[in-house]
């Protein structure tokens, strides 16, 4: 269910997995109450360090996205849906940060950059509904 991670990427492995889970929650593919694989299964599936898998779950649990039920496993928490909206925004904001950096670096004007963005968005079509 998880995409394979890219060890060579600049993004640490734990971040990659966390992002995948966050994206899943944001996109709605991971709904509250869905069970996630155990730490061991996750590590075995992705061929990663179990400590890393444990860290992912620990951080997400700390952020409120996951909850561990003793003896039963790890699940998407009920509050997750509430965070979905903020998650989506957060993800896009991250991306926009990068774009903004590049825009500034290449000394593109703000208007040009916004025009570019609108063109691409229109080309993409996408969801008309805002919520």
């Amino acid at each position: 269910m998880f995409n394979s991670i890219n060890p060579k990427s600049a993004v640490p492995i734990y971040r990659q997995i966390m992002d995948q889970i966050r994206r899943g929650v944001a996109a709605g593919t991971l709904a509250p109450g869905d069970q996630l694989p155990s730490v061991r299964e996750l590590a075995a599936q992705l061929l990663i360090n179990p400590n890393t898998a444990a860290r992912v779950y620990r951080d997400l649990e700390r952020d409120g996205l996951l909850e561990t039920r003793r003896g039963q496993g790890t699940y998407i928490s009920a509050d997750a849906s509430a965070m979905a909206e903020s998650e989506r925004k957060r993800i896009i904001a991250e991306r926009l940060e990068e774009v903004a950096r590049e825009v500034r670096a290449f000394a593109l004007s703000e208007e040009e950059a916004l025009r570019l963005f609108r063109d691409i968005l229109n080309r993409r079509g996408g969801r008309k509904d805002q919520r």
Binding site: P7, K8, A44, N49, N51
Partner: protein, 307 residues
């Protein structure tokens, strides 16, 4: 890093074979519960290091403690709690897998035949086959299965992935990860399969010419070693900060690798007419960038950089 939290602690471990210096004052710390990757080119001393830990060779100078036991004085206790798989290590070829497992079971106080059989059945090795009839990948897996049979607290994999086909390599990694699940188990992997190590190691150490010249968590390594690219068409070439390696200067572009990157490092380099880019490096790139100057330089490796 406190010593108590370490599965392996060496203090200036030195090993000399006649005139050849195989290990040069290696002071390593392998934390408990971690997967530690010891990387280095051929002949760097990785196998010698592992052999010192098992007391197959006696250190010339320095000391080492494994799981709290001195490797020389309590070597039997060490070997009782440590599992060892060495690449292409000759086994008693005439034995069947079952006989080999039974032999090992008789030598250790604890033995879990289910753990052994679990791996063997999962990868489809018939216990009645003789070791000499197994393929290379099956041999490695059989050796690994038997090595974890006595529930070791530390697993030493010396070039265990070398020469394996991709499927066997995955199976070995998978088995290692499965084993790691138990509380507090530590794994030390040595070798040159950097891609595999990148996946599963959380600590790395670089061994060149017998010297441990880098040791840190993998994430730290990746966070601190970056390549800086500065494009300066028309402007004057920037100064390269001290300590940078692998400097490449072009007419309009300068690149170099730094080992102490922090976000504040790039800012002083920016300026009018300059564009600074910070490139993340893969573990392989990092290793090559750091190791090459050491290899080409004459004499022993430089002093290690530690966390």
């Amino acid at each position: 890093m406190s010593e108590n939290g370490c599965a392996i602690v060496t203090e200036s471990l030195t090993k000399r074979f006649g005139r050849k210096l195989a290990l040069d004052q290696v002071s390593a710390r392998v934390p408990r519960g971690s997967i530690y990757g010891l990387m280095g080119p051929n002949g760097a001393g990785k196998t010698t290091f592992v052999r010192c830990l098992l007391n197959l060779v006696n250190p010339t100078r320095g000391s080492a403690r494994v799981l709290g036991h001195d490797v020389v004085r309590d070597s039997v206790a060490v070997r009782q709690r440590v599992g060892h798989v060495a690449a292409l290590q000759p086994l008693w070829e005439w034995m069947t897998v079952r006989q080999f497992a039974e032999f090992m079971a008789g030598c250790y106080p604890r033995w879990s035949q289910e753990a052994v059989s679990g791996i063997l059945t999962r990868v489809g090795i018939d216990q009645g086959d003789r070791l000499q009839d197994l393929s290379r990948g099956q041999r490695a897996l059989a050796a690994l299965a038997v090595a974890i049979g006595h529930e070791p607290d530390l697993l030493l994999l010396d070039e265990a992935l070398t020469g394996l086909d991709p499927i066997s390599r995955r199976e070995v990694l998978r088995s290692v990860i499965d084993v790691m699940h138990a509380e507090g188990r530590t794994v030390l992997i040595t070798g040159q399969d950097i891609a595999a190590m990148e996946r599963i190691c959380d600590y790395v150490g670089f061994l060149i010419k017998g010297r441990l010249f880098w040791e840190s968590p993998l994430d730290d390594l990746k966070a601190r070693v970056k390549r800086i690219r500065i494009e300066h068409p028309g402007a004057a070439p920037p100064e390269v900060p001290a300590g940078a390696t692998k400097v490449e200067r072009g007419a309009r572009e300068t690149q170099f690798t730094v080992t102490d990157y922090s976000p504040g490092l790039a800012e002083p380099l920016a300026g009018p007419g300059r564009r600074v880019e910070v490139v993340d490096l893969s573990l392989e790139d990092i290793f090559v960038d750091l190791a090459q100057p050491q290899l080409t330089a004459a004499g022993p490796a430089a002093a290690p950089a530690q966390v």
